[in-house]
């Protein structure tokens, strides 16, 4: 009796949450797949017709936005690695007893709503704002110089909003490096650059990978930054999906685009994982 209880106990514990994830995470993916193969409109309803042409039509209509989103995502991710790595490095190796406080400061933006943070950047970067107006008064930039509405503003917003997601995993990976390994490299006459290249960086790679996973995916599917800080020249695929779903109610096109985006991101992530190996990544990501 007791053994039976022991065997079913984990299933009873997992069941409620598991069912919730099944119904509201897994099933919706199939609902979206089915919706993407339906035809009709919001007034007369949708019927399943297996109309896969929606995919080819949607891709050819919005390939520009898809490619732009991936480019912005890649640029933002590269900038994020470049900005986050030295910072995570310093906190991990020089932070001393204040490591926790520094990490807390890195997380500060999370205490302000995502939308509000981005709107705040808009306020800072407007033409009459505290950055551009003084520069223009000094004659350092021309009257026609803008930041808002350009790809620079959108990428700046993406980098800003996702920076903590890059700093944290790199920090975790660096923090776990045994100082004796670094000392051993020095004892064997490696100069600081070689020590970094041959010892520290390879050991930090799983953290970088986890960071890429946590930033590239949300950055390239984002629609808040390009909507608030961008213009019609910087439209990203997230905006298209959001508009098609919520404003035009063109559900088949919107779901087809969502699926394409998901597939592209999955392919990107998996081929990247193939190159670097997944074992260590899962370990860091799971922390």
């Amino acid at each position: 009796m007791n053994r039976v209880k022991r065997q079913i106990a984990p299933y009873l514990l997992v069941l409620p949450g598991g069912i919730w994830l099944l119904i509201f995470f897994a099933v919706p993916m199939f609902a979206m797949l089915s919706l993407s193969l339906q035809e009709g409109d919001i007034v007369h309803g949708y019927r399943f017709t297996g109309h896969w042409q929606t995919y080819t039509e949607a891709i050819s209509a919005y390939q520009e936005q898809i490619i732009r989103s991936l480019i912005y995502g890649v640029i933002a991710t590269i900038l994020l690695i470049a900005i986050a790595f030295p910072m995570a490095y310093w906190i991990a190796f020089y932070g001393g007893r204040r490591k926790g406080s520094y990490l807390f400061l890195v997380l500060l933006p999370f205490f302000v709503s995502f939308v509000l943070r981005t709107i705040s950047w808009k306020q800072i970067l407007t033409d009459e704002g505290p950055v551009l107006q003084p520069l223009r008064d000094l004659g350092l930039i021309s009257q026609a110089f803008h930041i808002l509405g350009t790809p620079y503003a959108v990428i700046l917003g993406l980098v800003y909003n996702f920076l903590p997601f890059m700093v944290l995993p790199i920090y975790v990976a660096l923090e776990r490096i045994d100082p004796r390994v670094v000392e051993a490299a020095r004892d064997l006459y490696a100069n600081p650059a070689t020590t970094f290249r041959k010892v520290i960086f390879p050991l930090a790679l799983p953290g970088v990978f986890a960071g890429v996973l946590m930033t590239f995916i949300p950055a390239s599917s984002d629609f808040v930054n390009s909507e608030v800080l961008g213009s019609s020249d910087t439209t990203m695929i997230g905006q298209v999906i959001q508009t098609q779903f919520l404003e035009n109610s063109d559900y088949p096109t919107a779901s087809a685009l969502s699926f394409v985006l998901m597939l592209v991101l999955l392919i990107g992530v998996f081929s990247y994982a193939r190159i670097l190996g997944t074992e260590d990544v899962m370990k860091v990501a799971a922390r």
Partner: protein, 282 residues
């Protein structure tokens, strides 16, 4: 985690300081300055948000600085629809974080305590919910609700928030259960306690701090969520959705004040929780 953080750094600083004292100072100093520069950059929009809550502006247009005032703190609830959006956000965050805590604790406890078939795929699903783009989760949930013909509103928002919070709670609880000293539970069994009594009287109090931090995490995820909420809200307005809708007509200073208060409460709560846990650690 805290113990290793406290012990390791002095050892490394001492030893390497002996080897290359000069480089350590210059390189470290430069990176120190750089770190503070990035932190300042991270804090800049927050500072702007707080500052514009004190801006003596006319009506809804809050773009340029017109002098200092406290009046918006007194007129915080001037827009009834903004106030009700904030209340909606808080209610959804409370309900969804408690639900997610209950469901997530079950999963986290089972994963930390038992070995069972299917735990691998459960881990995979949790990893998927934590790393999927919010846009895709929101879009697919909307597809489900549209296909099922259910209306959208506070209930569907809550369902969605519970969904993306469960895994975070489960991960936090699992890591606590894994480090649990099982001899304490065995002692309870030896003293004749049933499994049920042992769980509630012994195990649960031990994992309660982890459950609580799971609740707080889920609350924070819920109250700030915009993307998934935008897809599952219908005509319901939460605080971030109200701000989003107001961008075209101008965002009143009350939004900055509310943002400032949420920020202050969040930071204060985190600092207090941190101090308490570090005391307990000693």
């Amino acid at each position: 985690m805290t113990a290793s953080t406290l012990q390791r750094p002095p050892a490394s600083t001492d030893d390497s300081a002996k080897i290359k004292p000069k480089r350590r100072i210059t390189g470290g100093g430069l990176l120190h300055f750089y770190t503070w520069l990035v932190i300042a950059w991270l804090a800049l929009p927050i500072a702007v948000m707080i500052a514009f809550g004190f801006n003596d502006t006319q009506g809804r247009y809050n773009q340029s600085w017109n002098g200092f005032t406290f009046k918006w703190y007194g007129r915080l609830f001037e827009y009834p629809d903004l106030t009700s959006a904030l209340i909606t956000s808080i209610v959804i965050a409370v309900v969804s974080s408690l639900l997610a805590a209950a469901l997530g604790t079950g999963i986290g406890y089972a994963l930390g305590r038992y070995r069972f078939t299917g735990s691998g795929s459960l881990n995979l699903v949790m990893f998927a919910t934590m790393s999927s783009p919010e846009l895709i989760m929101g879009a697919s949930l909307l597809s489900l609700f549209v296909s099922a013909g259910t209306g959208l509103g506070p209930v569907t928002i809550t369902i969605a928030h519970v969904m993306f919070s469960i895994s975070f709670v489960a991960v936090v609880v699992r890591s606590r259960v894994l480090t649990l000293d099982r001899s304490i539970e065995e002692a309870a069994y030896d003293l004749g306690a049933t499994a049920w009594t042992t769980f509630w009287k012994v195990t649960f109090p031990i994992i309660l701090p982890a459950v609580m931090s799971g609740v707080l995490l889920a609350f924070a995820l819920s109250i700030d969520d915009f993307i998934v909420t935008a897809f599952t809200a219908g005509t319901t307005k939460t605080f971030p959705l109200w701000i989003w809708g107001a961008t075209r007509v101008g965002i009143p200073p009350q939004v900055n004040v509310m943002g400032t208060l949420i920020f202050a409460i969040g930071v204060l709560g985190a600092v207090i929780a941190n101090i308490r846990s570090s005391r307990r650690g000693k």
